[in-house]
Amino acid sequence: MRAILPALLAAGCGEVHFVEPNPPRLFRNTAAFTSAAVNEPVVWVAVTNLFIENASECAWARQISVAAIREAIARAGGEQIEVNAQDLSPDCRRRGETPLDVNSLRAGFGAAQIALPATHVRPLIVYVDNIDFPLIDEPAAIEQARATSSPFRGLLWTVSFASVSTQLHADRSVAWSYAGDATLADRIGEVVKAELPLQSTASAASGAVPLLDGSQVDVTREFKVCAVPAEAAPDSYPALGTTHVLDGAHPPTITFKLPQVVASPKSSFSKSTFKASVEGCTANCDRYFIREPGADPFRWSDMPDCALGNQ
């Protein structure tokens, strides 16, 4: 009997934890900003290098090819400037008979930039070639034109055989079929649809992004900034790991520095989204927060980190 009584007393079980009867009323908010994009003008030039057996069809072949390119690029909309086309085989008898006039291209693109001062002009060179044979002089000249005709490296599209587009390291290529191919405009148009207009990040910074929604500002007494991305501008937001008393007249904000993407093909441009998380307290902010039953209690206002995020 003596042994039974202590055992029975010890049998009192069912864990008892001390809890906060008036816990801090907390909420979590994520302030997000997504960068915007602006369209850049399409400034382009056609460079033809055709071999046509019947010389009488040379001009026609060149014109109809350039017309197809023009029609396709027009579908991109927006501001467009077509720089004077260059023909590297004027009578269609010998490929590369006339060298590419890089200076002329540079002048043309420069003039376009002057005409469109508030934009970023990245030149687009559309090279048309109907011979499945390696080029000799043209690659160096085209590369020079891409590299030097604008502050931004020019884009190169080819309408050619694959061997030529590969040799020129073209950004995009459309297969050559035959002069006067009625599908050429549509096939180029598919590339246009995917890549144009070129896009740039709309601004260098996000501006002040509110960390709390309007309705939250009305009820929040104190808040903490829990996490910000690396793109957050220093000193543009309340310090991390500190409890701040909300000043309703000056709600907290954050500014993000936006990585700049300039005149990028549409397919490779992506908008950036930045998020900062905030924990707000609407009542009992100096009371204890207990993460889980049995865990140590901490006064929320004294905690160096956010409470809800680590649960």
């Binding site: 039974i4 009192g12 079980c13 069912g14 008892v16 001390f18 809890v19 906060e20 049995g294 209690p297």
Partner: protein, 191 residues
């Protein structure tokens, strides 16, 4: 050989002295009611003394059905009170308010003992009750298993000491099964 003969002569007389008395503490088909004190101890930071009442109807000498109730005057103990005073934190255990159960009681053994100049007739009993432990927040399902002593004090008066284990399911920070020690000391009468 002499010892064997002596034993044979003595044994019948010794056996002749064994007598079985009729049961004095008779319970069959009678109602017993009692009241007394109790204390629920379940390690919940509450001191829970209380008053207990029970009524049992004996179907025979060995088995009875019973109703039992208790009312607790619970208050937070000194250690819990100190935590509350210093931090404002409170235990998540619910404060016992009352207990209401019904169950079965069984006599395990009957005996008597000489106390001073009197003879005390008693029974060792055990049983199981099911019911509810009412707390300050909810009605919680409860079960109580017990062993005890029921002693005849006079022709109509009896005393009873039960030592029980009370279990219940309670919603604290999480839902838990609680167990506590529940001694009951009551004094009653046969109706």
């Amino acid at each position: 050989m002499k010892a064997l003969v002596a034993a044979a002569l003595i044994a019948p007389s010794a056996l002749a002295q064994v007598r079985v008395e009729p049961r004095v503490f008779v319970k069959a088909h009678r109602v017993f009611v009692s009241g007394g004190v109790t204390w629920l101890e379940r390690g919940d930071y509450y001191n829970s003394p209380g008053a207990a009442f029970s009524a049992a109807y004996y179907l025979g000498e060995d088995d009875a059905v019973e109703l039992r109730s208790a009312i607790f005057a619970s208050w937070l103990g000194a250690s819990g009170e100190q935590v509350v005073r210093r931090t404002g934190l409170v235990p998540d255990a619910q404060k016992p308010v009352s207990l209401l159960t019904a169950g079965w009681r069984h006599s395990l053994a009957y005996g008597k003992v000489a106390l001073a100049s009197s003879i005390l007739h008693f029974e060792l009993q055990g049983g199981l009750d099911l019911g509810t432990l009412v707390t300050d927040r909810a009605l919680t399902p409860a079960a109580c298993g017990f062993f005890g002593v029921m002693a005849r004090l006079s022709d109509r008066v009896y005393g009873q000491l039960d030592l029980g284990i009370l279990t219940s399911i309670e919603q604290r920070s999480t839902s838990v099964v609680t167990a506590g020690f529940l001694p009951l000391l009551t004094l009653g009468a046969r109706l």
